[in-house]
């Protein structure tokens, strides 16, 4: 079977940063593989190593800059990559779920995978919705927030655990083709080996425009418009202890003794 993994390059914001307009100033951003997608890639690569998957393809919505992040996924064991981008997207500051769905669906239809793995959410805009939306758009089954996956190749069924709130997991059987959104902790993502990094250099990253995947500019008109961005006001009324480590530890110890929890 063929497994497609959605891979997003996300911006991480430094502890101290400035906002310019409706964006965090570029100087304070670092780009990395989305944490949840790292687990999704690992799950896909394990499916290949364990037998059921023949090929693992990643798909990314992002500009050329994202190739560096995509190479990380390839170095971890994905076979090849597709990256969709278009000049029409340069000025959109918040891609909505529908836009991402349209773009990813176009690639899924071309690639025709049996299983699509996607991170539960992205660390930057955190909509947490694209995977399920994509499934419904494609007429695939789906499961959100999956933290255990046992694939029955014969039956074409994924036995999954969905991580509900409060330490309860839901056990669900999902018929393929399906999109599963993968929760952190489902596996231990590997570090890319030197060999993997070397091999990744020669793996294909196919850049595609909207036109290439059969979409026109209307398909990427976002319903959402970012109108402001600001730092949330601190509601802190904590008493902060100052001084060197010895002094602050002394004050902390006082509090613990006062509250009667440590002697």
């Amino acid at each position: 079977m063929k497994v497609l993994v959605t891979v997003k390059e996300v911006a991480e914001v430094a502890d101290d940063f400035e906002i310019a307009g409706t964006e965090v100033d570029e100087r304070y951003l670092e780009y990395d593989l989305n944490e949840w997608d790292d687990y999704a890639v690992e799950e896909a690569v394990q499916l290949k190593e364990d037998g059921p998957a023949d090929e693992v393809v990643t798909v990314t919505i992002g500009p050329e800059r994202a190739d560096e992040t995509i190479r990380m996924a390839l170095a971890k064991g994905a076979d090849r990559a597709v990256r969709v981008w278009d000049d029409a997207l340069e000025d959109v500051d918040l891609l909505d779920v529908e836009t991402k769905t349209n773009m990813l669906a176009a690639v899924v239809e071309e690639e025709d995978p049996d299983l699509v793995l996607s991170g539960v959410q992205a660390g930057d805009d955190a909509f947490g919705a694209t995977g399920v939306s994509l499934a419904d758009h494609l007429g695939f089954q789906w499961g959100a927030v999956v933290n255990a996956l046992d694939y029955d190749h014969e039956a074409g069924v994924a036995h999954v655990h969905r991580e509900l709130e409060g330490g309860v997991e839901e056990l669900t059987d999902i018929e393929l083709p399906a999109v599963l959104t993968i929760q952190t902790g489902i596996n231990e993502p590997r570090y890319a080996s030197l060999r993997g990094i070397r091999q990744a250099q020669s793996k294909e990253i196919a850049p595609k425009t909207l036109n290439d995947v059969g979409l026109d500019a209307d398909a990427v008109e976002s319903d959402l418009t970012l109108t402001s961005m600001y730092e949330p006001e601190s509601e802190s009324d904590a008493e902060l202890f100052e001084g060197d480590a010895g002094e602050t530890a002394g004050r902390l110890a006082e509090v613990l003794r006062e509250k009667g929890v440590a002697e």
Binding site: D124, G128, S133, E169
Partner: protein, 316 residues
Amino acid sequence: MSDVLAVAEHRRGDLRDVSYELVTAGRELADATGGDLHVAVISGDTEKFADELNREGVDFIHTVSEGEEFNHDVYAQAVEALHAELDPEVLVMANSVNGLDFAPAVANRLDLSLATDAVGFEYDDGLEVTREMYGSKVETTVEVGGDRTAVTIRGVEWPAADGVGDAEVAEFDVDIDTDAGSTVTGFEEVGGGDVDISEADFIVSIGRGIEEEENLDLIRDLVEATDATLSSSRPIVDNGWLPKNRQVGQSGKVVTPDVYLAIGISGAVQHVAGMKGSDTIIAVNTDPNAPIFDIADYGVVGDLFEVVPELIEEFE
């Protein structure tokens, strides 16, 4: 139409708290749009749930009796049909694990604009939601275009609705294909084992700031010196450094000790959901803007690798 439809959430026989928060949020929206508030409750003991949901501000309650527990195929089809019947301007659902298992599908099939994880609303000519980005580092306002919208709300951001309403309750008849391809087969409790951290009086909790697994020994020394109970935020358990029964937060345990000492924990909303009921919260973190300081009573902005060894010394 300018009505609002809220979809309640329940699990294993009980409405979840967010259902009452959805009533409040839904009422807020309905007041802004000038429409009625409809609440849908799907599966399980819908009669009992409808009774409990009949709180101030609810105009109509629609029950769909199909199955016992949440199943996304049932929810998506039921909400799709109700939406077609009521044509609400705004559809509001929980930004919960189950909410995110059906809301995006409903938005897709009904072609609704979707904004998830809202923490606030503004309504002028159209809907504008407040939501966070970059792990709570910034807040944004987002204009939600289109004339039919769907929103999921974060738990605990709206107060629970109370009082007794005089909503009209009616069963909504809908043909549901129960053979759509997903079957819930059961539930499993996780996080049992050697210790129940929810019983502890004094908890030392560790987060990402510990950096490496080996460094946990430092925290274990502190735990031993102070006779505390050790817990952690999610990444530590995800990494396999501590077992699941030590995890505090939305998907782990809820704890309410006398003192909760959070070390190297930034205080993401999912973590805070599990410990904000602690009597006294103390935070040690290098980032003065970390949200953990918003709920802390005492804090040290500093390096745990400097502060913790000194703290151990205090108790040895």
